[in-house]
């Protein structure tokens, strides 16, 4: 008997002997991006305390530690891609809160994305067709996305009210009715219509920055794109918005479609590196987080690996960028009581929590109340709220409850997915709290007119 090996736990233990027989049709193992990402997990359990899905179920298999163990057993070839396993990979929000608290530095996001990739590759994803439709057909093409958005806008303007009034959605399957509600309002004008390809500040140019218009930001939050660009101009930046830019690819990659993600990444590398830029500034957290990973995504691509690294090094979240350049101090008071929600892709993927708060604190007149569990996912998580509606709504309820407790009149969300989701939660419960973006408030405090009034 000894201290360390499994055999030494006494005669009473049940050594693990996985049933190989069940694996006759084993379709191939998960390709772990880097073995250290799994073996560094010492199963201490610190991640359980911040995992939204573990909070929901209290089940170990729904925790990061449990999922890592399951992935490890699958990767070793001792467990098939079972329906339970697939469901657990799908249940995970990929919010990466676990990475923030992991002392050992395990890159959980990479593990779950690799698993989803494998699940998709062997055709076992139950949401396969819905996801492929979004990630291979809609998002890769700004043109197609805009056509759909324009249709949705027409619908929201004219048809939605009437249909809601006559109770049309009660006639539809529940899921379709929800899609109507979940979609944030489509902007009257898309931001690539309002904004030009090259925009210059009034005075001397200090920085030359690229701007990613984003998929959702462009069609649903065009005003916030305008606000962001105005803030950058006010800070002496020349803003370049390359016409040939495409979706960043993050939604595809997070759902295991690396093929689409890589092809989109290459197009963006071409579009942005064509300009001599000091930084590429992004106001959508999921996009900035993912574009910072282009270097890793394309590291094995002989043609693109260096360029990908070059681009990733330039990517900045807009709050991060403004704090780095010591942004112009705003002067005009904005009298509001606000609270700040941390987007997962800012707080957990990029460790950006101080910068947005510093910008808000600089605005005179704002009363800022800290939000309880501010870094817990709101349940939006890409298209999670569409594909796992019930789980998403449980998390949204918890988020909205916390927001209501602050008694703030405005909740600040610096990411389009979160903003849409929280808006939906508040609207559904008829709570009179507004959702706003830090850039909108900063612009107000610079004394610039709101986006809608400048055209």
């Amino acid at each position: 008997m000894g201290l360390l090996s499994n055999k030494n736990t006494g005669s009473e233990t049940n050594p693990i002997n996985y049933q190989k027989a069940a694996l006759v049709n084993f379709p191939g193992s998960i390709e772990i991006p880097n073995e250290e990402t799994i073996i560094n997990c010492i199963h201490c359990g610190m991640c359980l305390s911040v995992c939204p899905t573990y909070q929901l179920t209290g089940m170990e298999k729904s925790s990061p530690r449990g999922r890592i163990r399951l992935i490890k057993i699958v990767a070793e070839g001792n467990l098939d891609l079972t329906p339970n396993f697939i469901d657990e990979m799908d249940f995970c929000l990929d919010c990466q809160a676990c990475q923030t608290v992991c002392p050992a530095g395990v890159k959980f996001g990479q593990l779950v994305e690799a698993s989803r990739d494998q699940i998709a590759n062997v055709g076992k994803d139950p949401q396969h067709f819905r996801k492929r439709f979004f990630f291979r057909f809609i998002f890769p093409s700004h043109a197609r996305l805009k056509i759909i958005a324009a249709m949705l806008r027409l619908y929201q303007k004219f048809l939605q009210k009437i249909l809601r009034k006559i109770g049309f959605f009660h006639l539809l399957p529940k899921k379709l009715g929800r899609m109507d509600q979940l979609a944030p309002k489509i902007s009257d004008k898309f931001s690539d219509k309002i904004l030009k390809e090259d925009m210059r500040p009034k005075g001397e140019i200090k920085y030359r920055v690229g701007f990613l218009k984003g998929c959702l930001m462009n069609v649903m939050f065009a005003d916030i794109n305008k606000d962001t660009v105005d803030v950058l101009l006010e800070n002496d930046c020349e803003v370049i918005m390359p016409k040939n830019q495409v979706c960043c690819g993050s939604l595809a990659a997070h759902n295991g479609d690396f093929k689409s993600a890589k092809s989109l990444a290459k197009k963006n590398i071409i579009a942005f590196l064509a300009h001599d830029l000091d930084a590429i500034v992004i106001n959508s957290a999921g996009c900035s987080a993912f574009m910072k990973e282009y270097g890793e995504l394309l590291q094995d691509d002989p043609e693109y690996s260096d360029k990908a690294k070059e681009l990733s090094a330039k990517v900045k979240d807009v709050h991060e960028f403004l704090v780095e350049i010591d942004f112009k101090q705003p002067k005009f008071p904005v009298q509001k009581k606000i609270t700040y929600h941390d987007a997962c892709h800012l707080a957990h993927s990029q460790q950006i929590t101080d910068e947005p708060r510093r910008i808000l604190q600089a605005i005179p007149g704002l009363e800022i109340v800290e939000l309880n569990e501010s870094t817990m996912c709101c349940g939006s998580a890409g298209i999670y709220n569409m594909v796992r509606y019930d789980d998403s709504m449980k998390l949204l309820k918890r988020k909205v409850d916390n927001i209501v407790d602050t008694q703030a009149e405005v909740v600040i969300a610096a990411n389009p997915g979160c903003a849409g989701q929280i808006e939906y939660g508040l609207r559904n419960r008829e709570i009179d709290i507004k959702v706003m973006n830090p850039m909108t408030l900063l612009k107000m405090s610079y004394g610039l007119p709101p986006a809608g009034e400048t055209e």
Partner: protein
């Protein structure tokens, strides 16, 4: 486990409270202990004391084992499954039943997270001192079962000093209530203290009554940097000798400092040999006075710098960073084997020297940190479970560390428990009659050996 037994289990807890899928069994095959793993037959959730009692009666009748599990953060293998076992999940027993502000007690269910209890009682100006490293997720039930310690053990003691009463189900299914709100109570044997630290082998806790104290009005957190461990250890001895008992007096060696800084990024210098994290608390005047005394003591022992945290957040960040030490060491090597050999506090400096010599002798990379103030050390081997030769040397090194600790009047484990991980050392080195008495008690109270069998020691029936 045969279908018949499974059906009977199901009729006790209901179909939705039995988890026997391969995925669930894998997820309950481990806890926080390195290397140990085994598959249970199933995991179950009970929702009443009565259900737990029935499960244990069934276990006695049909011969399966019951392994209680909170959040699975234990470091001695206490909730590792054994042969023919069912994991009894307790993490959903998470209600704080009552905070009694007149009697200064908290009545909690065993699944309450330790940090959640801290927040709840601190909101009303009260204080529950035990703060194990895993407090953001570990449960009170697990803390009581292992008699967990923490960073504040030096001044405030450990879990056993705060348990006033326990409601529990014994191995045969009997329900007992031990202790209560009386500060003084000598009506018979002090039985609740026998359950504290029983590592799940005697009873399943269903309610725990805890003592609270008023929250200290002020606190100050300091960091002192040293060129070597010996100077840091001497500072600890001198602080105690000056009759100052800080709430926290923790030390980290260079390897640990480097890994912690890589994780936390709070600006710790990576080139220093050791650091002390010191926190004094109490009345503001006392805190001020003790801080003034500690700084020259550190300086006299060659501290290169003594820093005082300027905000509460800075102090919290420092303590959180210290709590991450164990897992952060995994950054250096994939397998971290953590022990908690403990010596009387006067023997701290010699013990630290011995650990360093032993690590050198066996060519093991060792990170050393721990609760310097109470002599509770955490020598942590940084190794790789895939390297069997090195793993063998690690085992030899720890054996020697334990022997040295015992020779200095110390003990095998200060706060993690014996479980499976240190069972064989207990066989060799338990004090006179201790193991035999424990075995007698176990035989008497659990004659069919159904509760967490084979943990702490083996028993012949």
């Amino acid at each position: 486990m045969n279908t018949n037994v499974m059906n009977r289990l199901q009729s006790i807890v209901g179909k939705n409270n039995i988890y026997s899928s391969q995925e669930d069994r894998i997820a309950y095959s481990y806890d926080g202990t390195p290397v140990l793993e085994a598959l249970p037959d199933a995991a179950v959730r009970a929702h009443s004391v009565e259900e737990i009692s029935q499960i244990l009666k069934l276990a006695n009748e049909t011969g399966f084992s019951v392994i209680p599990r909170g959040s699975g953060t234990g470091l001695s293998g206490g909730s590792i499954p054994t042969k023919d076992s069912v994991i009894l999940l307790m993490n959903h027993w998470d209600k704080i039943v009552e905070i009694d502000r007149e009697n200064l007690t908290a009545l909690v269910q065993p699944g309450v997270i330790t940090a959640d209890l801290h927040h709840a009682v601190e909101k009303v100006g009260l204080f529950y001192p035990p703060d194990p490293g895993s407090m953001t997720i570990c449960t009170i039930g697990g803390n009581v079962a292992e008699n967990a310690g923490g960073l504040r053990g030096l001044k405030y003691g450990v879990t056993k000093n705060y348990v006033m009463g326990i409601e529990a189900v014994l191995a045969n299914g009997d329900i007992v209530k031990l202790g209560g709100k009386n500060v003084k109570d000598v009506s018979g044997y002090n039985l609740k203290d026998f359950l504290v630290g029983s590592e799940g082998t005697i009873a399943i806790f269903t309610q725990i009554l805890l003592k609270l104290i008023p929250k200290p009005k002020a606190q100050k957190t300091m960091l002192a940097y040293f060129q070597n461990m010996t100077n840091a250890a001497q500072t600890v001895s001198d602080i105690i000798a000056a009759h100052i008992i800080p709430a926290t007096l923790e030390f980290l060696d260079q390897t640990t400092i480097q890994c912690v800084e890589d994780f936390a990024g709070i600006g710790l210098p990576k080139n220093i040999g050791a650091l002390l994290l010191i926190e004094v608390d109490g009345h503001p005047a006392q805190v001020e006075d003790e801080t003034k005394q500690i700084i020259p003591i550190a300086n006299k022992n060659g501290a290169s710098e003594v820093k005082i945290a300027s905000t509460e957040k800075e102090a919290d960040d420092l303590k959180t960073a210290r709590r991450s030490a164990f897992a952060a060491l995994a950054r250096a090597k994939p397998t971290t084997i953590l022990e908690d050999a403990t010596v009387p506090r006067s023997q701290l400096a010699p013990m630290v020297d011995k650990i360093q010599n032993i690590a050198e002798k066996y060519q093991i990379r060792m990170g050393v940190f721990g609760h310097a103030g109470d002599g509770n050390l955490h020598p942590t081997a940084l190794t790789d479970e895939r390297d069997s030769d090195e793993m063998h040397r690690v085992e030899q090194a720890f054996e020697e560390i334990f022997r040295e600790a015992l020779e200095l009047g110390g003990t095998l484990t200060g706060e993690h428990g014996v479980g499976l991980a240190k069972k064989r050392y207990l066989e060799e080195w338990s004090s006179s009659g201790q193991k035999e008495l424990m075995q007698k008690l176990k035989r008497a109270l659990d004659p069919n050996n159904v509760l967490n069998p084979g943990k702490i020691f083996d028993v012949q029936f």
